[in-house]
Assembly symmetry: C2
């Protein structure tokens, strides 16, 4: 039997703290690092961040969009980053927000959770607009391979709020529907399940009882989006220990390109988050 | 001033008919073509379908998930397919269903709608779970470059229905919110705008007055998902001529690998759709 992603993540958070570092090689950040907005700049940036946070972060979260903008060449850089991260034994959450009808999600499951794939991650983010049930191929491959899926529930941006808080014909808010559905799927696993949710640190407590999710939380919106370690701690106050992975991107990345400054920023965030959450 | 994607699409539909052929190189279809489930199989299949439908279809719709499962090598095949399609002057709708917060959608806009990108398409599909407003970078690049975006409204699968029909705090169904938001954005353009929606052929008439969208409709679910040309015609009965692009995948693809059979299947669907819609 393979260890669940949830169990592996929990162990890693206990050892290293709850910090996940978002690797977001946007045009703007490459500029601020005085690097060209090119495949070479992308590769330099990504590997530099990985190296600087290796001993501090439980996971990295490459934002696939910023690699995809260079097409297959950008994906080659992402593959190299992921290979180096696997070698260094740091968890990888591919922030891809994929989601389609079930037949098509087979393809995304293979891409991000399949053993053969050069893009295989420890977990991938998924978008439920076509229904949580349509994501079944991702869930099944995650369970089979000891990998995970973080399904978007309540995101950190304001623009998503009206949709995510809409009420179904059963009078349940969409974000609550996602949380409840994932909790039901996790009940099949012993211990912390493979299936998590994305819940922005800038959001309010949902009605759903978060400790009953039975899986991990990926929490963006920390740092430059406005939330701090205390906000995260309050939102997840009664959750089991080491189930919350807090993702910080710009607030750390902008400390570069100086490696020591980058490393210091990551350590400060890790220490703050550990003190508040563990 | 650049022609809008809507205007270019309308011209193409008038000339060739309303058929869009989905290029879905899943493991299953490669098997049924007696081709290996490999990068080579992917390339053979994709180029064969393109060649067979060139004179019949207004557009091709490569399903990105099935290329992505081979990582950067799969994306290389997708880039080659897209380059050949551009040379042959057939429109490309990249079925990627991308969507994230606005800052990240900059990356997806560059990838799928940017002039420099090897993945540049005539239009890309986008998912609104993080809000229609968050998709602004895609809309802006589409307008600037004469390209388009099809935003998911009501999809053809049952699993998405409860979320898409949930009601916002303004008592508007999510799918209606998407339709209305896109219609408002299209009002900035003369003629048929750059922004369309995905509306499954298997769905009922929404409350929203479809002819007022001011942009094109991408209509999956035709063929093996159960809808026929008559269903499409009924759903869009009062819409302006040549604004509906009906996407057929498996019902055509399974006629291969024989090229003549593939070509015949595409022509039959094109003729049926043209008779019903034009």
């Amino acid at each position: 039997m393979v260890d669940t992603f949830g169990a592996r993540l929990q162990e890693r958070i206990r050892a290293l703290g709850p910090l996940c570092v978002g690797i977001d090689p946007s045009r703007q950040i490459l500029e601020s690092w005085n690097r060209p907005d090119s495949v070479e700049g992308l590769e330099f940036f990504s590997l530099a961040v990985l190296e600087a946070v290796l001993d501090t972060a439980a996971a990295i979260k490459p934002q696939v969009a910023f690699f995809e903008r260079f097409g297959s060449e950008g994906f080659r850089v992402l593959e190299r980053l992921m290979a180096e991260a696997r070698d260094a034994d740091i968890l990888i959450v591919a922030d891809a927000k994929r989601g389609d009808i079930a037949e098509t999600n087979d393809g995304y499951a293979e891409a991000w959770l399949g053993h053969r794939s050069p893009l295989v991650a420890d977990a991938v983010t998924a978008s439920p607009y076509l229904g949580v049930a349509a994501l079944a191929p991702l869930f099944e491959m995650a369970s089979a391979n000891g990998r995970g899926v973080f399904v978007l529930a309540a995101t950190s941006n304001d623009a998503g709020r009206s949709l995510q808080r809409a009420r179904t014909d059963d009078n349940e808010r969409v974000e609550e529907l996602i949380l409840r559905s994932i909790a039901e799927l996790n009940r099949r696993d012993d211990g912390l399940g493979s299936l998590g949710v994305v819940l922005g640190a800038t959001r309010d407590h949902p009605e759903f009882n978060l400790p009953s999710l039975g899986g991990p939380f990926l929490v963006p919106g920390v740092g430059s989006q406005g939330a701090d370690a205390q906000n995260v701690a309050r939102l997840f106050d009664r959750c089991p220990p080491a189930t919350v992975l807090a993702s910080v991107s710009r607030a750390i990345l902008q400390a570069g390109p100086d490696r020591a400054a980058l490393r210091d920023a990551a350590q400060r965030w890790r220490d703050d988050l550990s003190a508040a959450l563990l």
